[in-house]
């Protein structure tokens, strides 16, 4: 009796609405997880390039640094590095803060401070790169 072996299987223990929202138990979805992984992936080649650049520029004069940073390729790589670094950094520090600061107001203040600082520092880096390179 082949038919009797077929049992009804429930693969998903979630409502249709829950599935379509895709937010899960934490109610924030997988955006943070993906953002941290994709920026990590981008940072693998960018960090290697940055390490090579730092070695190349050891003890270099101001003029040599300006000459190195001049040109679209270096500008694009530097800005990519800055964006990926500060994006990855604020996602990482967010998790650390959420893990260790349990007082609601203090946690919110720390999160806002870190995110605000990340934006300001990233902008400072980008403006500097453009000022040197353009």
């Amino acid at each position: 009796m082949a038919g009797a072996d077929k049992s009804v299987r429930v693969d998903v223990m979630r409502s249709q609405l829950g599935r379509v929202r895709g937010l899960g138990a934490a109610k924030s979805g997988v955006g943070h997880w993906w953002g941290q992984r994709l920026s990590a992936l981008a940072l693998v080649p960018l960090s290697l390039w940055f390490i090579a650049s730092v070695l190349h520029l050891l003890g270099a004069s101001h003029d040599a640094v300006l000459a190195w940073a001049n040109g679209p390729v270096t500008i694009v790589l530097l800005i990519s590095l800055v964006l990926a670094t500060f994006y990855h950094l604020q996602l990482g520090l967010q998790v650390v803060i959420e893990d260790y600061i349990h007082h609601d107001a203090a946690r919110l203040a720390a999160l806002l401070a870190v995110k605000g600082a990340a934006i300001l520092l990233a902008l400072a880096c980008i403006v500097s790169v453009l000022k040197i390179g353009l």
Binding site: R37, A40, L41, L43, V44, S47, L48, I51, L55, H56, L58, G59, H62, V65, L66, A69, T85, F86, L89, G92, L93, V96, L121, A124, C125, V127, S128, V129, K131, I132
Partner: protein
Amino acid sequence: MKDVREALSVARNSEGRMVQRPLSPHLQVYRPQITSFTSIMHRATGVALAVGTLLMTWWLVAAATSEDAFATAQWFIGSPVGLLLLFGWTLALVYHLINGIRHLAWDAGAGFDAPQYRQTGYATLIGTAGVTLLLWLIGLVIW
């Protein structure tokens, strides 16, 4: 106590006293292992690198500001304190990079067996020491 999460974290300890159970990651309870050590170090180096971006920002802003500002930044990086920070930054970056690749492999579903994650854990530590020393050797030769 006004939160159900707080109520759930109350339990008796081995002496029968009511205590607030410790929060994860239970550093004071578990025996240190290569997995917990590499995990804790990933977070620690991540925080250290976040602080290190201040130095990178200073260097870039100084280069864009003036020759004097750049000379000050270069002087600081070349000072004993600056070199120590730079060495720590190299160590943290190399570790976070290698262990980060290990994490990405896990996210792709690879390397989850116990012998494998122990081996890659020790390989990460050895690789970090080796690559950091190699980079500083190259750096010192160039410098």
